[in-house]
Symmetry: C2
Subunit: 417 residues, 2 copies
């Protein structure tokens, strides 16, 4: 009888398909803003249409041989855990790399992470309580939303505008957002998705604000190798007197075109922050060993590699910005860093347009995939007629991609001119 | 005047060393239970004392050539991001690996993670809200505490005892702990740190409980290759009717002695769970590429490799358990899995004893480093006279290590017999 009852219970659960409820953050967690377009891209490819991918920041640049050969020639017998903060040999040499950018740190100021992503995650868990507020100029890297949701942190977006090339909003606008729950400001410099490079004056204004309200200042500077037109790269690590407030978030993914290595870094002169961050790092044991071997060797990459890469990106940028601005109704400010730009298009809605490009359009059996900019804004409705373009293809492909866009804008049913 | 004021403000902050407060979880985050002993180990080494490390689960077994050669020979030009859920080729072949253990899944049931650690983190964020309770039989893998703190989840320990070899506590004891906040049960099978292998009857009892209260059942089964004495490995994936409740947490770290690869997996037949987990996985972009290349190739590792490894661990276990139990006052149940055991020693306090072993003791210039078991318990005071021993050294080193322990117990000032 008892067995029969148990069986009935199981059967009942099976029939009703009762199952435990997911967490609220599992529901709130945002999907990748580009992901919903993937099925349309797949369908277009099946129809034989060539797609130019300007939607993702996966560079086509080759990883330096120094990196690849170090992995190839690594003498590994037992692939052991590394130190939770990363190999000391790598962290020591990394200090030399930062010194060239006038960032003076020692190995204990560094924790090597599983990509820049984990640096953001650990920094957020170290600094912010559930319900704390972080001010982030928008548009911002879409995954900041995901990491904030994971950490139960509330993002307070502060709008920057395409008309000013996405310059830092006035400090008064930041002050308006500050509440007793405000614990930090987060920036990306040079910026993804804007390509904007903050000036010394803008960073000094942030410095004053951080001091005044005693906030953490988290700065994602993974694109520092990609600053153009002789403009100065100013790191938050250069700002005097806020050493205990500043956390630098870094990654080698773009620097060495080594996105799959999953090697990033969380850096701070605040000893208390680093001691706490190390506890989070210890819980997950260690960052990847092969990635560290490659990244350490890549520190020897000759300057000529970076000069070549930079020259290539400048050529791509100059072509793309010029070509975009020549299309009637298109406006695209010229970025000074990273390899993205945001363009405003003469369309009703970028989400619809980007889907239409894949679903209903082709020009000589070719089309282009773009990232609708709305996914990079937190304010509803913002950026609805903007797209992010990653100029990560060679100039010849970029030319074809822009031609597709130009032709598409002539015939798109939702065009506004 | 305005500038002078700003300057004074900065100066004031500087003098007072005001700095933003860390999060509560940064403070609550537990340190690694072994870490506090490291300075003592370093000091002993400086004095020329050889230390046998039985304190960590870093195997000395060589990583299979299939893994290492695949990385060496990988034809990489651009080290790109992989799919956020891991390479489809790897996930497809991995289904074949699980099939041999009678676990029937398809690639969409798998997300490849940054080690088993990230599998636990993503599973917790997917299933549990802040304040939710998870029941975990103790002693348990110490980092479960860290991941729970990260996720704001409350661990409700349920005591298992050395006298019964750390068998599953009676189900009535579980039921006593269940509250409206209880959302899941987490187990490790075969167990770290106990080496206990749950029987089919024990797992069926958990199954009933999970069904009755509609709980998630998270099971860390990273030691499935290490089951001894012909005892049956039963996975939570084998339990019928709770497919939507079960999440398997896995890692290749121990399977292929490839801890530094940082390749794990989160597996579930619950489509809603996997869809949500994928959003967390997308936010951090992808697992490491080289680790995946190695892990995919390692699936071809011949059975003889595992047979050799298993034979070696059985020899080590048999030696260690026998030798320990011969020491007066020592009790150590014989584990059926993994490569750990917990021994009760005739001492006042294992934390003090383990420090003393490094600081004040040597036998022929040798000593042994052990992990105090208290760090694996959540109940204060539990396991105070127990240590975890990882038998990850060759038998000759193990012999010397046990001799050190035996000699130490003769002279330790806090001995109880």
């Amino acid at each position: 009888m008892k067995i029969a009852n148990k069986f009935s219970l199981s059967l009942l659960f099976f029939i009703l398909e009762i199952m435990p409820k997911l967490s609220s953050k599992a529901t709130q967690m945002p999907s990748s803003p580009i992901r919903k377009l993937v099925p349309f891209a797949d369908a277009a490819k099946k129809k034989g249409i060539k797609i130019f991918h300007l939607n993702i920041g996966q560079p086509d640049i080759e990883t330096p041989p120094s990196f690849l050969n170090a992995v190839k020639n690594a003498d590994v017998k037992v692939l052991e855990y590394s130190h939770s903060a990363g190999n000391i040999s790598y962290r020591t040499k990394l200090c030399g790399y930062y010194k060239e950018y006038n960032i003076n740190i020692d190995p204990s100021d560094i924790i090597i992470t599983n990509g820049g992503s984990e640096a953001i995650q650990i920094a957020m868990m170290t600094c912010f309580n559930a319900g704390d507020e972080v001010i982030i100029p928008e548009p911002f890297y879409a995954n900041y939303n995901g990491f904030s949701t994971s950490a139960d942190v509330t993002v307070k977006p502060i709008r920057s505008y395409i008309e000013s090339g996405f310059a830092l909003p006035p400090i008064e606008e930041f002050e308006k957002l500050i509440t007793p729950k405000t614990k930090g400001i987060m920036i990306c410099n040079p910026g993804n998705p804007t390509g904007y490079l903050y000036t010394k004056a803008e960073l000094n204004a942030l410095r004053e604000l951080v001091l005044k309200y005693d906030l953490f200042l988290l700065s994602d500077e993974v694109y520092r190798e990609f600053c153009y037109d002789g403009k100065e790269y100013v790191s938050v690590m250069h700002l005097p007197g806020i050493e205990n407030n500043v956390i630098l978030l870094d990654s080698i993914s773009k620097r060495y075109s080594a996105c799959g290595a999953r090697i990033g870094a969380m850096i701070s002169k605040n000893k208390e922050v680093m001691a706490a961050a190390l506890k989070f790092a210890q819980a997950r044991l260690s960052p990847p060993s092969y990635g560290q071997i490659g990244a350490e060797a890549a520190l020897e990459t000759p300057k000529s590699y970076f000069e070549g890469v930079k020259k290539e990106y400048i050529a791509r940028r100059d072509f793309v910005i010029d070509a975009l601005n020549k299309i009637p109704g298109v406006f695209c400010p010229k970025p000074s860093g990273a390899f993205y730009c945001i363009a405003r298009l003469p369309i009703d809605n970028a989400d619809k347009f980007c889907q239409w490009l894949l679903e209903d359009f082709n020009f000589n059996q070719q089309t282009v995939m773009l990232a609708p900019a709305a996914g990079f804004y937190s304010t509803p409705g913002a950026g609805h007629n903007e797209v992010r373009i990653a100029y990560v293809l060679n100039t010849s492909d970029l030319k074809n991609a822009v031609t597709c866009l130009e032709e598409a804008l002539k015939v798109y049913p939702g065009k506004t001119i």
